[in-house]
Symmetry: C2
Subunit: 425 residues, 2 copies
Amino acid sequence: MKELNIAIAGLGVVGSEVARIITKEAEMLASQAGMRLQLVAVSARSNRDRGFLMHGIDFVADAAQLAARKEVDIVVELIGGAEGVALDLCRSALINGKHVVSANKAMIAHHGHELALCAEEQDVQLSFEAAVAGGIPAIKLLREGLSANRIEQVTGILNGTCNYILTEMTQTGRSFADVLAEAQAKGYAEAEPSFDVDGIDAAHKLAILAAIAYGQKIDFDQVQIAGIRAISDIDIGFAADLGYVIKLLGNAVRGAVPGVQPCLVAQDSQLAKIDGALNAVAYSGSPVQSVVCTGPGAGDGPTASAVLADIIDIARGHRAYPFGRPVATLEDKANRREIAPGRYYLRMMVEDQIGVLNAVTAILRDHDISVESMLQKGRSDNAPVHLVLTTHATKKQAVEAACDSLRAASFIAGDILALPIMAGE
Amino acid sequence: MKELNIAIAGLGVVGSEVARIITKEAEMLASQAGMRLQLVAVSARSNRDRGFLMHGIDFVADAAQLAARKEVDIVVELIGGAEGVALDLCRSALINGKHVVSANKAMIAHHGHELALCAEEQDVQLSFEAAVAGGIPAIKLLREGLSANRIEQVTGILNGTCNYILTEMTQTGRSFADVLAEAQAKGYAEAEPSFDVDGIDAAHKLAILAAIAYGQKIDFDQVQIAGIRAISDIDIGFAADLGYVIKLLGNAVRGAVPGVQPCLVAQDSQLAKIDGALNAVAYSGSPVQSVVCTGPGAGDGPTASAVLADIIDIARGHRAYPFGRPVATLEDKANRREIAPGRYYLRMMVEDQIGVLNAVTAILRDHDISVESMLQKGRSDNAPVHLVLTTHATKKQAVEAACDSLRAASFIAGDILALPIMAGE
């Protein structure tokens, strides 16, 4: 039986799990791959025990060396970071004619185009299934399973940390800060949580999916990003009263600017039920209509499942363009049309005095915004109260302009939050 | 650009849709496939207009001829039926060195092993993504996306007609007969509905998934099958009172006999929300944990999406063993262990007289069955009443034996229904 020689760079929880499975499940993997998967070298910061036997496996301190080793067929990059060691390693591995499998969403979002070109020139495979939605084969589903479709929309719950925080807030009524602190204490959220809670991680993944779905050059910078820090328990409560839950969604509609932002999702929709650290991706297009896949969005096991599936595909001789088609045929950033009008949720603090409601609705009217419903909570002794409005279908620009006008008004206390309401299924 | 020549046998709604897309979306498909997909011949019972231009496409009345045509690279079999014309065509196409793409679950369930062997001997591809779960890439997800996993359980809502009927019964409180008649009138159910409502269609699909998941020779005959005819609006109501919905599930646990049967599913579980004609497949295993995919289980568009994805895979040079590994390494029907004990729902009609409850519980006690809850509905004037019990975890054999004893008892009127209650998520 032929052998495929693998080097792993980065032995965190995912790298260690991949190494453990390659060494302990050799028979099962060989029967799937049609080749023996041989772990020949690893690199990490320190050479401590990680739950697999290092017998016959070279340890190198400098990851860059892996790209130069003659016997290595595949370099598995699990270091992380958009640039630096990870990018240098992947670039030189590809140039040296080695296949690269990576779980690095930041690197692919920022440098995927260059790396894909490099892979194509060297006729080797660049795969990154594990970069998007953890254990869900989200890229394979889109690029191969739905290859005959004209995709019209990609929507996803792409960050498990945010989904966990929002789920906890919804189920317990606790505040964002409180739940985040607990998540950090439990190790579910990073000490520096910005990549997650500010939506950047989800935007990396959305950029990758949008590029594949629409055959475009990956362009992280165009993704509009809003995180979940502004979501208060007040919003969660208002949303529930209105029949919705709040989810951080990545959304890429064909031809429109992709965006990551908190959205109101109908309580009885499929995405509303994706709780905790689960991820979900929904693809709509023709002729398939709509396919939704859910699963664990992170963790050593699910991520290792995706990394190993990429390796097995390479062993099986399945070659695929990283973004679904030759780099030369990927479209440059297209002219982006406006997002279609939709309903919005607006929440503000207003002074509790006569005439305020009238003044608010006047500003909305002046921006051509039609109010659908209105809720008010909290009373009073002349303290500001929460006012929530939902609108009929409205252009995004009109909502933004109205928010600016409202912010400038004397009777508004504190900031204004505007969230899209996802169209029902 | 190279060309891939396709022949389609069977121009029903799916065949016509595949032909329409190949002829009308030629550019898009070519950019995905890296080859021009050329429809060169079709066969059907009559040569009437089906929404695509027949210019340059040969029409042949006898499907068998397609297998012999020199220029044909892929035969797409959309005739249906486990044997007969469909099987003859696929067999001879493979023997003649042509790839075969089929949506024919009955044929694959009964003759998939022989056909896979044939494909392997001729070194051509046999693909049948469209045979399982319509637009959901269920086979690709399992065979490639989760290729590194030891799968422990495959569960699915695999028949859209049954799911539609059960959903309607749940939402409207109507009877099975009533909803079936309406579904037939609307064209959602066949005039002869047995394949659907008796669970045979779902069993075909489950047999295919189980063979791939566990690397076994496909064996339709071992699948235990119960359909939905026995489910009454009474059961739907009782299930709702208990916090469940009734779904027809296919379920294949590693090492256990696969089965298709109506089950009680907790109202807040993911599968409970899969309504109407949707399908769902859930794969559990290690290291991925659990992945669930939902989408349209039938219809011309979704099925065409799956057929075309198979064709594009062939054009891309992606070759896969039909059942995930070489035929020679597929395991023969393994010794099947018993299904693990689980909770059950029991519904019976009992005479409304003193001492009956005591007699029922005595029979259950004698079979080592522990009762969890009990509900009674309907009264009385000495007419029989419905009695529903749920049990704690119980062996299947004990439930079957208890049902036999109950059926023999004088105070039982009518049949007894026993349904498994799915373990919570």
